[in-house]
Symmetry: C2
Subunit: 378 residues, 2 copies
Amino acid sequence: MSAPLVATPQLVEFSEPLQLRSGAVLERYALMVETYGTLNASRSNAVLVCHALNASHHVAGVGADAAQSLGWWDNMVGPGKPVDTDRFFVIGVNNLGSCFGSTGPTSIDARTGRAWGANFPLVTVEDWVDAQARVADRFGIEAFAAVIGGSLGGMQALAWSMRYPKRVRHCVSIASTARLSAQNIAFNDVARQAILSDPDFREGHYAEFGVVPRRGLSVARMIGHITYLSDDDMAEKFGRTLRVDDIQYGYGVEFEIESYLRHQGDKFAQYFDANTYLLITKALDYFDPARDFGGSLAAALAQSEARFLIAYFTTDWRFAPERSREVVRALLEVGRDVSYLEIDAPHGHDAFLLDDARYHGALRGYFEGIARRTGVAA
Amino acid sequence: MSAPLVATPQLVEFSEPLQLRSGAVLERYALMVETYGTLNASRSNAVLVCHALNASHHVAGVGADAAQSLGWWDNMVGPGKPVDTDRFFVIGVNNLGSCFGSTGPTSIDARTGRAWGANFPLVTVEDWVDAQARVADRFGIEAFAAVIGGSLGGMQALAWSMRYPKRVRHCVSIASTARLSAQNIAFNDVARQAILSDPDFREGHYAEFGVVPRRGLSVARMIGHITYLSDDDMAEKFGRTLRVDDIQYGYGVEFEIESYLRHQGDKFAQYFDANTYLLITKALDYFDPARDFGGSLAAALAQSEARFLIAYFTTDWRFAPERSREVVRALLEVGRDVSYLEIDAPHGHDAFLLDDARYHGALRGYFEGIARRTGVAA
């Protein structure tokens, strides 16, 4: 085990216009990037980690910035970890449109000298992947040993395999899906309505008014949070335990679960940008690679050349096991090399972020296989 | 089959103070009531129908009021229906604190001459049952042949069996639970937060300001609505079908499911009172008869003397089958006569309101048994 990582984010700027799927063009943009480990001479040991809704480029280690916070997937990525940075060169990229340093709604639009706000164009999973491909170019990485992500990050891994087949040797998609269900879209839309209907949203130009649609963001986060946990896990952690001595017959916090959720909502509203929340949920809703292939996921995945690992958790009801199984079936149908990992974990969707010996053990083994196949020395 | 029912609501006033579980006392109150069929001479054929969150006393038939709307359980209650009003005298009561004519937040508080608004005391399922018992007194009904309800209505049926054991011969609890889970409370609390944080809520005194917390109510209803439908049912009905020709890359309605949910939210916000929504969700959260018996549901249900029918639907994830099964087990444990009915229906929680031949057939048979046992002539 090596010393703990200290990661230094770097801003990578691009002046070449980026054509977005919506038809809009971003003339220039910058992405916040963090790397861990060392790129080998043959540039064959690079792993791209894609993040989910509220995460960032800060994947592992202790941030060199003021926050000093631990990376969001520090239990997975680092020296001696399943994705071993003593062996692999790992890149974390804050997605375009997010709010942790990459160009997005909170950035200044050079054309107007004001924050983009609601004028920032909607981006898609495919746009993110295109933007990330330019980061790979900048590092001189022709092909990634692996592209890996959970949830929305898993969608990006899938999109990479289809959009840049020659540049992805292994695709690891965890707790994800190839398209949102009606129920998923429903939850996203309610969350959006909470934000859009907050009077402080000011049609997305809240920054100019010096306000934040805090209430809407908080409700949106609370809704999301319920879907990240399993019913059983919530019952186990909170049950009907009261936070107070006895029922108060009022609308203050009474049950532990209320305290927990409201705290999560308030915390989120303090650091996350509302326009970013809106556009990321839209990217989730829009993702549907089968759509360009007459609804055939197999036909879409036939574009890929990678080996796949599809991992999922039995109690995940946000992206249920069946959503992963249909990806596995489609990959088998087109003859791809696919492993699947079903973990019987109680923690619902959030399980992909948690430490679980079977999950991490399997990922560790899979990445050892990647190292062998790509000739990465131990 | 007799002629269609035309129901005339009547306001039943009570001037005897009602002690609420919270400690508050309501000096006087009125309940809006509708009846169907004829009370027999021995007063043995009365059935009380308890309503869920957004329903009312208007259970069956065509309302005699301006709205002329069909009762919320018209497929279950009426001449020749499973709960046959040619045989039974059926009573629907709008619950205390609701907004369809019974005393509640929208009523005038005689002490102040102004609408109660947020000053209306929180009520519990037990309080509702106490208030309903006085309606029974008024009709001279010593014991109900049956108390029946779905969802929150099913909780009232259970509470009746425990609180007034001698007055309930049969308890029919459908798609219900003996206590909300942490996840249930979580959804309720997010819905409440959406209302409470709407600037138009004005701490519950919106009526005095001539406004309505429409946005909060709409978001609350959207959240609720998602939990009423099963994932599969939503996929079947809406899937990823677009409402528009193509993706618009904006926040207007794009998917059918968005159109449906927003419509449900807007419609609800036009007719339902926000304070009522808040207090009813609290009554749901508080219901926990086992709590007074050291957590033993069996001990709580040992108070009852009724026969029970516990019915539930396989795809109901709001009140999952396991919640009903634990009621059945507790009733068996204390030697009660209990039947259970599991219906493999795709429609989730809402299935209790829908027409399903197996479900209605079983209820019809059960009520024929009730008629036999209580000596009600066909």
